[in-house]
């Protein structure tokens, strides 16, 4: 009888779990489709365009041609080794899905696969989070966590349909790797540790944030050792995982030998060595006398520890092991990037997080997450130490950089799921505890062997009943309030996804006074003009933000793009944009530029244009050419950047100013505005009559958003104005020599 009811309960539970996870997948997929419904199925923003172009190249030419691809149409004179500088996981995943569908005769264009990849993987992330939380706490908490992460705005922001970026698949790989690690730690089996290493390999191929995994797992192992929770399971799982994971991660060409040569991977190696020593200690402890043990290990350990530190610093000093790279060092020393690496500081995603972002992206889960964390600390065991470390480190990193809110979101969803599940378990189940204790007592009558255990269980149940002396009314009210919080979370998540995170950034939308929708498609208009009206090998100079879009949509060679791997090249472009026309013309001739593209938002009030980014161009240029470009030259008298009345002479003559405001002085943005009123900045521009000597205007889009200029090919001999030639010649003889005298100009 009991087996029948238990099996039907198991059947019903499994069915319910499958249905809930399938619905979570469907909801996660559907809530990411706002941009597709409103606009069209298009790749968004900037970075995804490069990923799409790389995937397209791979689908057309095959995987090995992609791995060996040298792109000469990016970073113009230098080119880019794409095969060695890209994480191929994203392209391989889309290519694989495309190939499977093709072989089933279900032909889909690769663009559709790329656009819809991230929503599909959000459902898989929900399932991986369910598995992780089931290992950490219980299946009920797992279902809560899966539903949270399916719609949480912190994750949705980077995985809407059309956002074809590494994070879309990397968060799935992260959660799955963590689930396999926790499982391998719990079972201590080599099979699970090997599966964890394979999943880690997928994560390494997908995203540069794999460094987080390879530092968190050693930190977990170290914490367990320090807490005295060492066990053979930890030894087996960590050593198997570390060896396989390091070898596998070196198979990705971009990672190469970094796992043995950079400081970011050294903690994993250090913990590996430490674990061998600790295992040896535990093995020897029962087999030798205490005094031998103390001298051997305490002395030996200190000597080895000192030796390890000395060797590490010697390797760093000798250059064999690279110190922390700039990107990761700036996470610890937050003021470092602004002074030394302005490119990292200029990205808006790298700014510190405001508290508003925490609420906006996490809503109620940010408030309940400390509850889950507290219960994990209270009922600690080996795997809950892991989630505690993950949560604490993720909170620190999310506070340093807005972009890392993404790594905090899974931790918050898991712990909030634990918090909600524990609360509901305590507050909803009061009749069932009495039933369970009565069924336990019927068990004791059947099997006398388990008498002692049953008595312990009964006394614990009675003690539990006395502890949780919260009345039934309070429980009901609190349960209802929590359900209302969950409903509000769903409403907030959908609202945020719909309004804030579903903009393709390639088209701009605004509404008129009577509610009509105006679509401003200037970007695509300009890129299409470039594609149709310029030579196939024309070089386009623009600021690095737009490089990927130009390469993807206009299919032209660019000078600098979002990869930002060569700071000096970007500084050259910045110097060209900030110098006056003749100096800029020299740089452009050296770099063989044909067209220049600027974004200008003054007519429609678009605030992401190049004049607003100009201060970063100046700063980056100053970093490389401090004698030619000085930031103070561009300030007004009161020390701020302005293109209006008080603008400095250098500012009024620089190439960026001229290109943005050419012919703008004659336009009026509204009926009662003065000519040349810049809507974005809010004032009339400083100099209205602009003449261009070395460049000419090629194309300006409908709303003046994108302006393209062509570099004039000047004749080889420079024309020198006559008035500047100092000529001393013989005066023409009066009337005698009608033919005149040949004058020679003094050299």
């Amino acid at each position: 009888m009991i087996t029948a009811s238990r099996s039907s309960q198991l059947g019903a539970t499994t069915l319910l779990t499958i249905v809930i996870l399938a619905l979570a997948w469907f909801v996660g997929f559907a809530s990411r489709l706002f941009a597709i419904v409103r606009f069209e199925s298009i790749i968004h923003e900037f970075d995804p365009w490069f990923n799409y172009r790389a995937t397209h190249h791979m689908v057309q030419h095959g995987f090995y041609k992609f791995l060996n691809w040298f792109d000469e149409r990016a970073w113009y004179p230098l080119g880019r080794i794409v095969g060695g500088t890209v994480y191929p996981g994203l392209m391989v995943t889309s290519g694989l899905i495309h190939w499977i569908l093709d072989s089933l005769n279900f032909h889909v264009h690769i663009r559709e696969v790329c656009v819809f990849l991230a929503p599909t993987f959000s459902g898989l992330t929900a399932i991986a989070t369910y598995l992780l939380t089931k290992e950490l706490w219980s299946p009920g908490a797992g279902l809560f966590a899966a539903c949270f992460i399916a719609i949480s705005p912190g994750y949705t922001s980077r995985s809407v349909a059309g956002s074809y970026d590494n994070e879309g698949i990397a968060i799935f790989a992260l959660q799955f790797t963590y689930y396999l690690w926790v499982k391998s730690l719990k079972t201590g089996s080599i099979m699970w540790a090997s599966l964890c290493a394979l999943s880690y390999f997928y994560m390494v191929s997908a995203w540069g944030g794999y460094v987080f995994i390879i530092n968190l797992i050693p930190l977990h192992a170290l914490a367990l050792i320090v807490m005295g929770r060492y066990s053979s399971r930890l030894f087996v799982s960590y050593t198997s995982f570390y060896c396989l994971a390091t070898i596998l991660s070196m198979q990705v060409p971009f990672v190469g030998f970094q796992p043995v040569r950079t400081s970011e991977h050294m903690p994993a190696f250090g913990v590996f060595g430490l674990l061998q020593i600790v295992a040896l200690m535990h093995y020897a402890r029962n087999r030798i006398t205490r005094q031998q043990f103390m001298t051997l290990f305490v002395g030996g350990l200190t000597i080895l520890g000192g030796l390890a530190v000395v060797v590490y610093f010697a390797l760093v000093w000798g250059g064999y092991v690279a110190p922390f790279s700039g990107r990761f060092y700036s996470l610890w020393d937050t003021g470092y990037a602004k002074i030394h690496i302005p490119i990292i500081a200029s990205v808006s995603e790298h700014q510190p997080t405001t508290w508003v972002s925490f609420f906006f992206d996490l809503h109620i889960t940010a408030a309940v997450f400390p509850v889950g964390l507290w219960y994990c600390i209270k009922k600690v065991n080996d795997e809950r130490v892991f989630i505690i470390l993950y949560a604490v480190s993720a909170v620190y990193f999310a506070g340093v950089m807005v972009r890392l809110m993404l790594t905090l979101t899974p931790a918050v969803c898991v712990l909030a799921g634990i918090g909600f599940s524990y609360t509901f378990e305590k507050y909803l189940k009061d009749e069932e505890t009495k039933e369970r204790s009565s069924s336990q007592s019927t068990n004791t009558k059947d099997e006398k062997l388990y008498d002692k255990a049953a008595k312990n269980v009964k006394s614990r149940n009675a003690a539990d009943g006395e502890e949780t002396a919260v009345s039934g009314n309070v429980r009901t009210v609190i349960s209802i309030i929590l359900v209302i919080f969950l409903l509000m979370f769903v409403v907030h998540a959908t609202y945020v996804t719909s309004n804030a995170y579903s903009h393709p950034s390639v088209v701009l939308q605004s509404s008129t006074s009577n509610g009509d929708r105006i679509i401003m498609d200037d970007f695509r208009e300009a890129y299409h003009w470039l594609r149709e009206n310029t030579a196939d090998d024309a070089r386009i100079m623009s600021w690095w933000d737009y490089g990927y879009q130009i390469a993807g949509m206009a299919n032209r060679t660019t000078l600098v793009d979002n990869n930002t791997w060569n700071n000096s090249h970007i500084a050259l472009v910045g110097k060209a944009m900030s110098s006056n026309e003749s100096a800029a013309y020299e740089i452009m001739t050296e770099l063989d530029v044909d067209y220049i593209l600027v974004i200008f938002g003054g007519v429609i009030g678009y605030s992401g244009d190049d004049i607003n980014k100009f201060l970063w161009m100046v700063r980056i240029a100053q970093g490389e050419h401090p004698k030619d470009i000085r930031e103070e030259n561009y300030f007004t008298a009161s020390g701020e950047y302005s293109t209006g009345a008080g603008a400095s002479e250098t500012m009024l003559n620089c190439l960026m100013y001229k290109m943005s405001y050419y012919r703008f002085g004659e336009t009026r943005v509204g009926y009662n505005q003065a000519g040349g009123f810049d809507r974005t900045r809010g004032y009339v521009i400083g100099k209205k009559d602009i003449t261009l000597e070395y460049i000419e205007e090629a194309y300006t889009t409908e709303n003046w958003l994108v302006r393209i200029y062509k570099r004039k090919k000047l004749p080889n001999r420079p024309t020198v104005k006559e008035a500047t030639i100092p000529i001393k010649g013989k005066k023409a003889a009066q009337g005698k020599n009608k033919k005149g005298v040949i004058r020679t100009a003094k050299a």
Partner: protein, 79 residues
Amino acid sequence: MDISKMDRYAAPVHFSSLPLLATVLCGVGLLLLAAFTMLQVTSTKYNRNVFKELFIAATSSIFLGFGSVFLLLWVGIYV
């Protein structure tokens, strides 16, 4: 190849019955799928019957197959 001389194409299933057909067929298919899942999860090595499993799986796949075709037609993908 004059279009005006050709008969207008009449589908074997009437257009207005597509939603009902799609919902019913998919619904029955999903119910049978759920029954099959429960059967797999709760049966042991000793009390399983291959013919019962095959029957439920086959009928479920037939229903789901036809249901998905009608679903595609209803949505507008004229396969």
